[in-house]
């Protein structure tokens, strides 16, 4: 599998085969991390965070350090030349003269693509506004694959803000490429999955009540329902509790359900769920580092 030198801007930049290769590599790393601790020795990751995201940045940096590589970068644009109005193109050309690969987060949609078009080193999109966040999609998928052994035949519930939640859109598109997946879309009418995403997933049902959907699910993907997405306060108050998962509701769910959340959460997953073995969102965080290790190694041509 030749991924060396590629960029990762959208999750759909990767073919099913390339994704499988990354998942397999991540599994190998998880099985014996010590065998990979010098894999990227001598390589330098530029960690370019034009807006703060401690969670994603630490995941990338930990991934590179655990591969024996090194990291340079910034965690917010303040006090950098970026703040002084330097273009993305100039920043990336400069960075590419020092580093071998870059992970970039930027508030503007399409920023990572602009960087990739000007860069001589591989660019990984670590989030461009609300647009794409491909390593989150890979993380979600690796977690499902590890727990369920694959994607075929699963019923996955996507719950909460399905309209604006682009991690959900990316995940839906990426999963839809595997056959036999059933989607249950759980959201208020105001926050339904957009038509163009629904068109891409074929086999789905739409419901407004989480409780009603729960018993049928193998996987439940929770997202935040944010107050500002609602037109009025009454609607928000009326609906918000329908999209909160707690221990009481979980009684209705299957024993082998797995609960995912891209984190950070607000109150949509109650803390009384955290100790339930079905809650895998903290495992998901760890998988995020492993899949980033696999990705860095692959784009650097070390696996």
């Amino acid at each position: 599998m030749e991924l060396k030198g590629k960029n990762l801007i959208s999750p759909m930049d990767l073919s099913v085969e390339e994704m499988t290769f990354l998942f397999d590599t991540a599994e190998e790393i998880i099985a014996s991390p010590q065998d990979f601790c010098e894999l990227c020795k001598g390589a330098l990751l530029a960690s370019l965070f034009f807006e703060p995201s401690t969670r994603t940045r630490l995941s990338f940096e930990a991934a590179m350090l655990r591969l024996g590589g090194k990291v340079i970068g910034f965690s917010e644009p303040r006090s950098t030349s970026v703040e002084k109005g330097e273009s993305i193109a100039d920043t990336i050309r400069t960075v590419a003269s020092y580093a071998d690969i870059a992970a970039m987060r930027h508030p503007k949609e399409g920023a990572a693509l602009v960087a990739a078009q000007k860069s001589t080193i591989p660019i990984i999109n670590a989030g461009d506004g609300g647009h794409f966040h491909p390593t989150q999609t890979l993380t979600d998928m690796l977690t499902i694959r590890r727990e369920k052994g694959g994607f075929g035949g699963i019923t996955i519930g996507l719950c909460g803000d399905l309209k604006f939640g682009r991690t959900v859109h990316s995940l839906a598109f990426a999963l839809a490429r595997y056959g036999g997946i059933k989607f249950v879309l759980i959201s208020p009418d105001e926050l339904r999955l957009p038509e163009y995403v629904r068109d891409g997933i074929v086999d789905y049902a739409e419901v407004t009540d989480l409780r009603e959907a729960l018993p049928s699910l193998d996987v439940l993907y929770m997202t935040r329902v944010q107050r500002e997405r609602f037109f009025n306060e009454e609607d928000y108050i009326r609906l918000k509790d329908s999209y909160i998962l707690n221990a009481a509701k979980l009684k209705e769910a299957r024993q082998d359900l797995m609960i995912l959340h891209p984190l950070p959460r607000a109150n949509e997953v109650s803390t009384d769920v955290d100790d339930d073995p079905r809650a895998v969102y903290f495992t998901q965080v760890k998988n995020g580092m492993y899949i980033r290790m696999a990705l860095l190694a692959a784009l650097l041509g070390r696996v």
């Binding site: 273009s87 503007k108 949609e109 920023a111």
Partner: protein, 140 residues
């Protein structure tokens, strides 16, 4: 009003009334070419009113943009006083710096990059290369 028939050149006919000027702006016509006539609000049996562009002494103008601005227009190539070819123009697959992305969160709002849009097959819509924001037509 009369504008003489051209012997050699291109006539863009059946332009939606009011779109002629916009098309002319985007045709990128070399100043060194022959005369250019834009007729607006010409009576038309088919459409009531139409615009019309005549380009004298040229056979090569990039008419791709036409498909985007006005799908209904017809392009007529004239050689030695006779019609050599008559065609309509399909929607271009890619357009650069014709539509501007209006998404305030798009990187094009801060970075000096060309505004590039790609046709979404079968929908007549265009998506921004960078942010995927969709626009339905030139006018939006």
């Amino acid at each position: 009003m009369e504008v003489k028939n051209i012997q050699n050149g291109i006539v863009i006919d059946h332009i939606h009334a009011g779109f002629g000027l916009k098309i002319l702006e985007h045709l990128d016509i070399d100043k060194g070419l022959g005369s250019v006539a834009l007729l607006m609000n010409v009576p038309s049996e088919k459409y009531g009113r139409k615009d019309l562009i005549k380009l004298e002494n040229t056979q090569s103008v990039d008419i791709n943009i036409l498909g985007l601005i006005d799908h209904q227009a017809t392009v007529i190539y004239i050689k030695d006083g006779v019609i050599a070819q008559k065609t309509t123009v399909d929607l271009p697959k890619k357009v650069t710096n014709v539509i501007k992305c209006k998404n305030p969160r798009c990187v094009t709002s801060v970075e000096p990059v060309p505004h590039i849009f790609h046709l979404v097959e079968g929908s007549g819509k265009y998506r921004c290369e960078y942010c995927d924001n969709a626009v339905k037509s030139f006018d939006e």
